[in-house]
Subunit: 324 residues, 2 copies
C-alpha cells in the first residue's frame, strides 16, 4: 500500500510522468507534449490523462494519494497560487495544485524545477550524502537549487537558489529578468552561441553555421579544435567560476552539482571554472567544495518531487510562515 | 542563579567584555587594549583579567559558567582550532577556547564576529522577528553574517556569510583575499577613500586631505556638496546594491541590516543601493527585502555571542558533523 507516487516533470516542451517507489525506482513512465493552447485547464487535463494511464499500467492500490510536480514556476511561501512561470505563461496566477486536487482528489506537491533537481541529486544523485550543496542547471537559461543542512532553501517568495541572476558583469548584456550582466547571459546555451558569434570575427569554421548555430555545434567545433569555439566555452567557464567562487565563500557548500543540457559540454568549460573558484574563493571553501556532474539527467526533478511526496526528510517546513 | 553571562568582543584594537542578562541587558562593562605582543597567551591573560574584574563588580553567583567570545576568526566545523585570524595573527592555529577553558574553568563559545553581529541584530536589533536576514558589516573591510530559518549559517569551514568577497568587477581592484574586484574593494571605508582619490582629478575640496584622507572626511565633504565625495559614495552604494541584488535573488531574505562604522554614512550611499536592488533583483524578493540600519552598534557582536551562551535558539547545531 502507498508504496508508489506519481511524479511529474512539467517542462516547456514535454510533460513527463513517472511512477516512483520509496527507493527512487521508476516502474512506469508516460509522456506527452506540454499543451500550449487551452490555458491551465489543458495542462490539468493532460496531467489527469497521464495519471490515468499510469494507474492503469500499475497496481492502482499501491499508489499513494499524492501527485508531485516539478515545474518552472515561482510560488510564495504558504500560498498555492503561482506567482510567475515565464516559460508556461498560462500558469501565471493560477492555483494549479488546487485545480489538480479538485479534479483528481489527490494531495498535490508543487515545486520549482531547479529546486526539485537539487533535491533529487541530494536524494539519489551526485550530492547524496552531503549536507550542503548547490545544483546549477545550465540549459537555455541558468537555474539553481540550494540544499543547506540537508533541506532545500526556498525563501518566502520561492526565488531562493536563482543563481542565474547573480551579476557577473556590471555593465554586461541585458537579461530577460530586467537586470543586465547576469550569469545567465554568460553561462547558458544561448550565451555560448552569442559569445561564439561575437568572437567569430574573421574566418572561422563556425561562420558556416551562422543562421542556426546551437551550443551543441559550438561544443563539437571546440572538440575539433576551433579556436573561437574553445574561447566561447572558456568565457562561459570563467563567468560560471566567478559566480560560484562567490557562492563558495558565502554559502560554504560541500558540493556543487552541474546539471542541465550544457553539462554535456563539461570538458569544454570546467577547467576554467575550477581555476576561477581556486583563485577567487577563500582557501578553505575552495579546497572543500567538490565540483561534479549531475547523475540523474532528466529524472532529477521527477525524483526530487517524488521524494517530497514520499519522504519526511525534505518536507516543506518553510511553507509554515514563521511570523504567524 | 546563572542569570548572567560574560560576553567578549575581541577586536583588532580593543578587547571589550560585558555582563549580559537573559533579556540582553548589560549590567557591567570592562575594556582594555587588545594586546599585540605576547602571543595568544597575552590575549588569554587579558580576557582572564577582565573576567575577574567583572566577577568582582557583580554578584559572582549569578554568573553562568560560560564565556562567549566574538572575534575576527574563522574556524572549521566541529574543531576548536582557529583556522585564520588575519587581524589577530597571533591566534592563527591556536585553540583559544580550549586555553580559556583550562585557565578559567568555563565553557567557551567562540564565534566569528560578523556572524555574532548578525545573531545579535536578530535577537534584539534591526532584524528581530524576521526568519531570514543578512547583516552586512561595512568597516575597514566588508563582513557579513546570514540567518536562515532563524539560525546562523556557518558552513563546515566557518566562512559562510563572507559577502565582502563576492566579485563585483571581474577585472577590478586586487583584494587582500587573493582575488580581485571583491565587494570589499568597493564598499569598505578603505574603498571609499581610494575611490574618492581616483575621482579627485582636477580641483576638488578633497585634495587638501590628500595625505590622511579618511572615509569620515569623504562623508563630511559629501554632506557639504562636494561632487567628488558624492560620486565616491554613489559608487560604493552601486556596488553594494549590485552584490545585495544577487543575494536577494539567491537567498530571498526578509531583511538586510547595514552595520559597521560606514553605516554612519547611510544617507550618502543607500539611495543608490536601493536603486540597484530594485532594478536588478527579481520583483518579489526586491519588494520584500527591507534595507535597514543596524540598531545595536558596537554591542551587536557581544549580544550575539551572549545569546549563544544564554539561549537554546541559536545553538551551534552545525557544530555536529552531519556526516559522522
Amino acid at each position: 500500500m502507498d508504496e508508489f507516487v506519481l511524479a511529474v516533470d512539467l517542462g516547456g516542451t514535454n510533460l513527463r510522468m513517472a511512477v516512483v517507489g520509496r527507493d527512487g525506482g521508476i516502474i512506469h513512465r508516460e509522456r506527452c507534449p506540454t499543451p500550449h493552447t487551452g490555458g491551465a485547464e489543458a495542462i490539468v487535463s493532460a496531467i489527469a490523462n497521464l495519471a490515468q494511464k499510469c494507474r492503469s499500467a500499475v497496481d492502482g492500490n499501491s499508489l499513494s494519494r499524492s501527485l508531485a510536480i516539478a515545474a518552472p514556476v515561482i510560488m510564495k511561501l504558504a500560498e498555492h497560487r503561482i506567482d510567475s512561470a515565464p516559460n508556461l505563461p498560462m500558469l501565471n496566477g493560477t492555483d494549479l495544485a488546487g485545480e489538480l486536487n479538485r479534479k483528481l482528489n489527490v494531495d498535490v506537491v508543487l515545486e520549482n524545477d531547479a529546486t526539485a533537481a537539487a533535491i533529487g541529486e541530494h536524494w539519489l544523485g551526485a550530492s547524496r550524502g552531503f549536507d550542503s550543496s548547490i545544483c546549477v542547471t545550465l540549459g537555455t537559461g541558468v537555474g539553481g537549487g540550494i540544499i543547506l543542512h540537508g533541506k532545500p532553501l526556498r525563501g518566502p517568495d520561492g526565488t531562493a537558489g536563482e543563481i542565474g541572476h547573480i551579476c557577473v558583469e556590471p555593465n554586461g548584456k541585458a537579461c530577460g529578468c530586467g537586470s543586465w550582466g547576469c550569469l545567465e547571459q554568460y553561462a547558458s546555451a544561448t550565451a555560448v552561441v552569442r559569445m561564439a558569434r561575437e568572437l567569430a570575427s574573421g574566418p572561422s569554421s563556425l561562420l558556416k553555421y551562422t543562421v542556426d548555430l546551437t551550443a551543441k555545434d559550438v561544443f563539437e567545433a571546440a572538440l575539433k579544435g576551433d579556436a573561437t569555439a574553445i574561447e566561447a566555452f572558456k568565457r562561459m567557464g570563467y563567468y560560471l567560476g566567478l559566480a560560484l567562487a562567490g557562492l563558495a565563500n558565502v554559502l560554504n557548500p560541500e558540493v556543487i552539482v552541474i546539471a542541465g543540457g550544457m553539462a554535456a559540454a563539461w570538458d569544454a568549460f570546467i577547467e576554467e571554472t575550477r581555476i576561477q573558484i581556486k583563485t577567487r574563493a577563500f582557501r578553505e571553501p575552495a579546497d572543500r567544495v567538490k565540483l561534479v556532474r549531475a547523475e540523474l539527467g532528466d529524472d532529477a526533478g521527477i525524483l526530487g518531487v517524488a521524494s517530497l511526496a514520499l519522504l519526511k526528510s525534505y518536507e516543506r517546513v518553510d511553507q509554515v510562515d514563521p511570523l504567524q
